[in-house]
C-alpha cells in the first residue's frame, strides 16, 4: 500500500483512531526521549528533596562543635588508607572544628538552592515584563531594548561585589544578618540577570503580535492588558521555561562565586560556595572538603543545564515529533 492510499484511508475514517492528546502530553513524550534531560530532572528533584527534608533524616546540628572529632575523613577514605581517621557517625567527615560535613552540605545546599530559585524567579519576572512591554508597545521598544543592551555591557561580577559589600551593613541592621544578606544577594543577582529573558521574550512577542488570533482579539475590543495576559503570555511560556533553567544555573553559580570571594553570607551560615572557599587553604590535606561542595554545585548546575536542554527540545514544535 502506498503512502497516498494510507492518507486517503485515514480520511475515510469516521472518527480519528487515536484519541486526541494535549500539547503537554506531546511535550512530555519528547522530553522522555532525552535521556540526559530525564536524568538531570530526576537528579535536580533528588537534590532538592535532599536539602529540604535531609535535615529531619540526618539530625546532627551542623553548627555543633565537637573538637575531639575534628578533621575526620570521609568513610570511603578507609578503602585505600587503613589508618585514616574515619567514623560511621560522620560519613562525609568533619571540618577543623568538628562540624559534620553532611549536615553542613544539606543546610548549605538549602541556602544555595533557595537563593537560586528566588533570584531566578525575580530575574524572570523582570525579564518577562520588559520583554513583553518592549515587544507589544512599539513606542517602548526602542528605549527598553537600548536599556537592555546597556545593562548587558555592564561588568556584572564587579558591580555585584561592590553592591554586596557596600549595602551589607545597612541590610544586616534592618533585617538581621541572614535575611538581610539573602535579600541583598537575591536582589542583586535577580536585577543583573534578566537581560537574556527580556530579549528572547521580546522577539517571540514581536512574531506573535502579527498573528491572526491577536488581530482578532484586538478587533473585538480586547484591552492590551487582557491580550497580554490571555493570549501572549501562555504562548511565550516555553522560552520562559528554558531561560528559567539557565537563570537557575547562573544564580546558583553567582551566589557561590560571591561566597567564594568572601562577600556572601555571614561566617556561621554555610553555603556550598563558602564551604569550598574555606577548604581551599588546607586542600592538600583534606581534598574532600573542596571536592564535596564543588561536586554538589557542579552536579546541580549540570543537571539544571541538561534539564534546560531537554526542555528546549521538548517545547520546540519544530523539533518535537521528529
Amino acid at each position: 500500500m502506498t503512502e497516498q492510499d494510507q492518507k486517503i484511508e485515514a480520511l475515510q475514517d469516521a472518527v480519528p483512531t487515536d484519541p486526541p492528546h494535549s500539547q503537554w502530553k506531546d511535550v512530555w513524550d519528547q522530553f522522555r526521549k532525552h535521556k540526559g534531560a530525564l536524568m538531570g530532572g530526576s537528579f535536580l528533584l533528588l537534590i532538592t528533596l535532599a536539602v529540604l527534608i535531609g535535615e529531619y533524616v540526618w539530625t546532627i546540628d551542623p553548627q555543633k562543635l565537637d573538637i575531639r572529632n575534628k578533621d575526620v575523613r570521609p568513610i570511603y577514605t578507609a578503602i585505600w588508607n587503613g589508618d585514616a581517621k574515619v567514623q560511621w557517625a560522620h560519613p562525609l567527615g568533619t571540618d577543623n572544628l568538628g562540624r559534620d560535613a553532611l549536615a553542613n552540605l544539606i543546610v548549605g545546599g538549602r541556602t544555595s538552592m533557595a537563593v537560586g530559585w528566588v533570584a531566578m524567579i525575580l530575574a524572570l519576572s523582570i525579564g518577562t515584563t520588559i520583554g513583553v512591554l518592549a515587544g507589544y508597545f512599539r513606542r517602548l521598544d526602542g528605549p527598553l531594548m537600548r536599556f537592555t543592551d546597556l545593562v548587558l555591557s555592564l561588568p556584572i561580577l564587579p558591580l555585584l561585589l561592590v553592591a554586596v559589600t557596600l549595602f551589607r551593613e545597612q541590610l544586616r541592621a534592618t533585617f538581621g544578618p541572614e535575611t538581610g544578606m539573602f535579600i541583598l544577594i537575591v536582589g542583586v543577582v535577580g536585577v543583573t540577570s534578566w537581560m537574556q529573558t527580556a530579549r528572547i521574550v521580546r522577539s517571540e512577542i514581536l512574531a506573535l503580535k502579527e498573528r491572526e488570533f491577536i488581530v482578532a482579539a484586538r478587533s473585538i475590543g480586547t484591552t492590551p492588558g487582557a491580550i497580554i495576559r490571555r493570549h501572549l503570555l501562555p504562548n511565550v511560556i516555553s522560552p520562559i521555561m528554558v531561560s528559567a533553567t539557565l537563570g537557575l544555573a547562573i544564580a546558583i553559580i553567582t551566589e557561590s562565586a560571591l561566597s567564594f570571594l568572601g562577600v556572601g553570607f555571614p561566617p556561621d551560615f554555610p553555603t556550598w560556595g563558602k564551604m569550598l572557599a574555606d577548604a581551599v587553604p588546607r586542600m592538600d590535606q583534606f581534598p574532600e572538603r573542596v571536592m564535596l561542595p564543588g561536586l554538589a554545585i557542579s552536579l546541580t548546575v549540570l543537571s539544571v543545564n541538561y534539564l534546560g536542554d531537554g526542555l528546549r527540545d521538548a517545547l520546540d514544535p519544530r523539533i518535537r515529533g521528529r
Binding site: G36, D149, L150, L152, S153, L154, P155, I156, L157, P158, L159, L161, V162, A163, T165, L166, F167, E169, Q170, A249, I253, S256, A257, F260, L261, V263, G273, L276, A277, V280, M283, D284, P287, V290, M291, G294, I297, S298, L299, V301, L302, N305, Y306, D309
Partner: protein, 335 residues
Amino acid sequence: MLTFTIRRLILAVPTLLFISLVIFLLLELAPGDPMAQVPLTVPPEVKEKMREALGLGEPLHVRYWKWVVQFFWIEPQVMFDNMFGTTFAEGKQRILSWQTRSPVMDMVAQRLPQTLWVVGMSYIVGILIALPIGIYSAYRQYSVFDQSGTFITMIGFSIPPFFTGPLLIMVFAVQLGWFPSVYDTTHVVNDWDSFVVQLRQMIMPVMVLALQTTAQISRFMRASMLDNLNQDYVRTARAKGLPENIVVLVHVLRNSMIPVVTAIALGIPGIFGGAIITEVVFKVNGIGDQLLNALFANDLPSVQTLTFMIAVLIVVFNLIADVLYGVLDPRIRYD
C-alpha cells in the same frame, strides 16, 4: 567600512557615560560611611574637614562631573605625557586612592598587563580550541565525537571556575607537581628557560578560564554550522565541484561565524568576572585582585575607577567584535 566603524565608536560614548553614572550612583547611594573607621575621639569639626579633604564636601553632580573629567581628560593626558615626555597634565588633580594616596591609574597601569595577558590568552586559547570542535561536531552530527563533545561542553558550562581552579591546583600542582600553584608576576622573560617557566605558570589560570569559553563558543559554533550546512548555496558549491574542505572551511565557515562573533562579544563580561575569581585562586595581582583589595579597604575612588576600567575594557572588546561583524557580513556595514 570607515563610517561604520566611526558610527560604532560614537555609539560607545553614551554607553560609557551610562555605565559611569551607574557605578557612580551605586557608590553614592551606598549607606557606608568612609569616615566609619575614624576613631570616635576625633571631634566632629575635624571629621568634617577630613571629609572635605577627601573631596566629599561637594554636591553630587559636581563630583560626578569632576570624576568624569579626571577619567576622560586628565588621565589620558598623563598617559600621553608618559609616552612622549610632554607636560600637559602637570599640576592637574588626578584620581587618588584613599588607601595609598597615590594615583589609582598608576596602580592600574602596573596591574592591567597581568590581567589582560591572562584573560586575553585564555580567551584566544579557548576560541582556538572551540572553533575546530564546533566545526567538526556539526560536520559529523550525532557521531561519537559530537556526542562526547556535547557532554564535555555541558560539563565545561557547569563547573564554575572557583571549583576548577582548586581542582587543577590539587591535581597538577600538589599531586603531580608539574605547574606552580601561584602565578609569579615579577618573573621576567629574557631567555628560553624563563619563557618555559612563564609558560608553565600560565597554563593553569589560562585553562580554567578557557574551559568556560570553549564550552560556550563551541556550542554556538556547532549550532550555527548546522544551520548553514543545509542551505542551498552549500549544495551549489558542492555541485560545481569545489573540494569538500573549501566548501566547509570557506563557504560555510564564513557565514556561520557571524552569530559566533556575537557570542564571543557577549561572553566578554563573563570572562572578566571569571578573571576576578581566577586571579584570587592563582594569586595573580591583576586588576580583579586590586578591586577586591580596594573593596575590603573601603577605598571608594579605587573601586569606582577599577569597576569602570573593567567596563571600558568590555565596551572596547564589544566594539572590536562589532567591527569584525561588519567585516564578516557586508549587509550590516551598509545598514
